[in-house]
Subunit: 337 residues, 4 copies
Amino acid sequence: MIHFGNDYNETAHPAVLAALAAPGSHAGYGLDEHSARAASLIRNACAAPAADVHFMVGGTQVNTTAIASLLRPWQGVISADTGHINTHETGSVEHAGHKILTLPSALGKITAAQVAALVEEYRGSGVLEHAVEPAMVYISQPTEYGTVYSRSELAALRSVCDEFGLTLFVDGARLGYGLAASDVTLPDLARLADVFTIGGTKCGAAFGEAIVFATPHPYFRNAMKQNSGLLAKGWLLGAQFEALFTDSLYEAITAHANEQAQRIAAAFASVGIRLLFDSPTNQQFALLTPEQEAALSEDYVCQFFEEHDGLRAVRFCTSWSTRDEDVDALCASIAQL
Amino acid sequence: MIHFGNDYNETAHPAVLAALAAPGSHAGYGLDEHSARAASLIRNACAAPAADVHFMVGGTQVNTTAIASLLRPWQGVISADTGHINTHETGSVEHAGHKILTLPSALGKITAAQVAALVEEYRGSGVLEHAVEPAMVYISQPTEYGTVYSRSELAALRSVCDEFGLTLFVDGARLGYGLAASDVTLPDLARLADVFTIGGTKCGAAFGEAIVFATPHPYFRNAMKQNSGLLAKGWLLGAQFEALFTDSLYEAITAHANEQAQRIAAAFASVGIRLLFDSPTNQQFALLTPEQEAALSEDYVCQFFEEHDGLRAVRFCTSWSTRDEDVDALCASIAQL
Amino acid sequence: MIHFGNDYNETAHPAVLAALAAPGSHAGYGLDEHSARAASLIRNACAAPAADVHFMVGGTQVNTTAIASLLRPWQGVISADTGHINTHETGSVEHAGHKILTLPSALGKITAAQVAALVEEYRGSGVLEHAVEPAMVYISQPTEYGTVYSRSELAALRSVCDEFGLTLFVDGARLGYGLAASDVTLPDLARLADVFTIGGTKCGAAFGEAIVFATPHPYFRNAMKQNSGLLAKGWLLGAQFEALFTDSLYEAITAHANEQAQRIAAAFASVGIRLLFDSPTNQQFALLTPEQEAALSEDYVCQFFEEHDGLRAVRFCTSWSTRDEDVDALCASIAQL
Amino acid sequence: MIHFGNDYNETAHPAVLAALAAPGSHAGYGLDEHSARAASLIRNACAAPAADVHFMVGGTQVNTTAIASLLRPWQGVISADTGHINTHETGSVEHAGHKILTLPSALGKITAAQVAALVEEYRGSGVLEHAVEPAMVYISQPTEYGTVYSRSELAALRSVCDEFGLTLFVDGARLGYGLAASDVTLPDLARLADVFTIGGTKCGAAFGEAIVFATPHPYFRNAMKQNSGLLAKGWLLGAQFEALFTDSLYEAITAHANEQAQRIAAAFASVGIRLLFDSPTNQQFALLTPEQEAALSEDYVCQFFEEHDGLRAVRFCTSWSTRDEDVDALCASIAQL
């Protein structure tokens, strides 16, 4: 079987693996030289010399820890109803005490106008203390659908956050693919978001997410430890991000995965199979008949997403580990559907 | 000004006040003879000799304490998006760690079919541990819109709860008005719900909600105390419910308030003013022009609810304290609009 | 039976009861004229015109809501191991997510030196983010033992709080008795504490605690509502405190209770029965033989506290409702032991 | 510098590293063949075919997730005051809502008699719902001091847990060293504890802790995900434990570290330097003069623990990565003190 089921089914890019396996003795809990160098490389890549950079193991962990450490108990976070924190994190944000204030999304995205309307409705209600105060906006770049926010859309969200005093949090669990497929750069993120993550797990690392605060969060290490997110051998995170941010490896492997995904998209188009929507990133959702899905599933791992117009939207996902010959094979199989 | 703004703007029915003011020395924390007698009166009224009855001060308190004490951390509660716990309790349920799984409501109500569909979607998702497990259904009787569930609707919800192993919780903050306006009786509630509340604050008491568990909750007093809900002078709650459940006072005052509300509804109808919907309980939502609203607001306290078709839906609310002459005056004013 | 078991076994002082029963229509949720007047009377009594005053129903509620609304998640509160929040509130503070950092107490009291040592040990540990940051000091005035802090002891605690950036919280569940028995006044508290409570439930009210913030807490009403502590008919709290702070009623009834308690103490002394310690407030702990305890328990409700040197420390508690003739009777019975 | 500062300063034993780096495509979230095999190896080693085995990244994570998933909100966990959950996890257990009920410890250990006394005091208090219910016992094997419970001590704790209906949780963050230094075996733990952990991070793994429930916990994966503890590439945990539990590697490396530690202890003894106590495991606490500490600190990383009798207790810690020649060097240096 050739794997297009997700982007976290192999361990790590060889350069990352090599960094993980390097010998040596280190200070624990992220106070090591690898973590320091990785943070420095990320600050450079973000053109944000004052940014505060930390490393955690997983996405749910970094999302929940950051959100809960920035909100007061009576505050909530605005999110697309399709946002990962709302659908696939077992209620971690609520478990930490905070309501998610959902907005209906278009292909995973929400707009500045939607955010403004929600806050205005809250403020106009006249019963401020009886409802959860909207205090943060959570978006994913790219979204759970593989779509991306443009720089102007992000700037509009920044603007509405400034207007209403909201914190802007960008979940970059798959950020690499989004950087390669949109006009939003790391410096844009560091400038427009209050805090964002740079996903490793789905972008070539074995595990690990970097989190970047535009201005220092003096107690984030306390929050990390309390939320079980201060890895004892923190250099394992630092070393991986050091590898990913050396010689533009992060950019290179995610851009390559996007290209592979576009080849798959083109293969579907060439035989008249529609995609659920036009995705510029590493996730493609093809609208297949049950027979077509069955045929491809004989040789390829792919993932059913949802029913759509009587067809089955099936996700094909590429990553750093997707080989050219695997895509060649898939495209050939598609051509025979 | 004559008050139709809400049903909690005067202290308490005289019989309740007299009970509150009775002299005497008592055991604390609800272990007194008034609380015992009130619980017994409620068990009788519910035809539920094995029911477990407790008394707490407020609605948010009793809702949150009961919900959080019955759920495990990874479980959530299904509610109408208009449910009081979802809109007007400052995220207390999430503050206690639990996600509210919302369903779109029709005039405040949800259906057994909606509940079944939500649970089936969760169970069919194949990623059970990545999402919040639906474990409880929360409904309000009457709803926040003044509408009521019928006995057959309630039985259908019971049925779906049995099928899927869910707990059925009925928020009866205004239960008196609902009992008087629907075919659902206290014995029906005790038989069909796992737990329900009997609202005092909005139904003639100065404060206080009774909570009835169909089967005993052995640790509910622990949960009450931990959630700041074990009143030191608990006899103040017991004495009020003793008064309300003596000589059918609770029934009488809420039925009378419903009748007053129907007189108001008829007055609007007689001058061609539509109501937002047909409400059988003590809340009536009239669709007024801004001029009509302004005219009535000169002499009467009423509450703007929402814009609707270019008109303003304005709530007129009756209670035990609504006097006949006040309704007469309002009806006369309506006739002159 | 004559009741000396506790100070919350009768409903309320007649003036408070009359205020509770007054007719009238009011705005809800504490936005009424009684609450406003009560707050104003308290600010005057505290000589603190800028203080922020709110009213809640119970002691556990006001303690937990205030503590949790002032701490960040990784912060804890320093308390005597005998502190009410540590022993008799079912872990409400921990339920709200915060560790209580306990200090061994002497008759319910902790010292500035103990606080300083705890914070210095934390700061000197070198692993700040691995432990809970001490951020608040909680004391009770009077303590759970009926002892009191002097003004100079309170000033020393203020000093150490200033030095280390800690918040000073004073739990005044029985504050009236403490004011009458110590040199600490309400203006002292408003000047030296960041936040303190003025207990009603145990000092003449039917229920209710006032909370006074030296500087406004802009979101405390949000925290109150989220913690089920925003009473719908908030005027019931306002009216009681209005009565208590009119014509020095609060002072008068608690001072009188202290005097009654001193008569009881003298009666024990006159027959050679030792008290557990010298208490200036309304709680006296007599060291009785089992036979003496049994003899007094025939006619008087009193409360066993703890074994001590082979004797039984038994609490005799007075309150606003303790009548002269009851104390006369008790003293006569003591004289015959 | 030669490192004796802790047992987690190098990445992992070569066999574990090799397992981490193995190529291949896997199912995510612990549903892979490595995790299945590792769980099977552990069940075999525990002689517990029905045990439920899961893998998480870190110790705070596994402790908090297990404790909070087994307790109800009003319940607390009994622990030595020196327990890791009480001192070095930033209040994670309280953050999850539960009080830690501390007992004074002797060299990190608590006794069955202490536990019984605590529960009996709670049950005898007569105010059960006003205090936190003791529901679980937490111990560390070996303790934070490197001491161990014997099988009979563990059986006594089991006995008291059975008598009072408590859950027995054993934190085995350094379990390997404890197994090699006590008469408690893995089958003993599986038989006597309700749940225990097998530490990887400090015993040769790069990261990871196994958790073993004597009887299945049907929702533990939900709790893991909600607590950010379901690793996306779960095979990285499975593969490491597979390596550790193949050919008794776990036993071998921890036993060897204990032997190295005994050589260090003997070296101190031979020059008349006392140890803080007699530790059979990989942690030795030498009582040094400041001069001696300074001398050794020139070439060796070691860790100051606490002042003791005017001397400095300094920890020397061995691990799988401690080489014979490093211990030789240290012993030679000690001989010259």
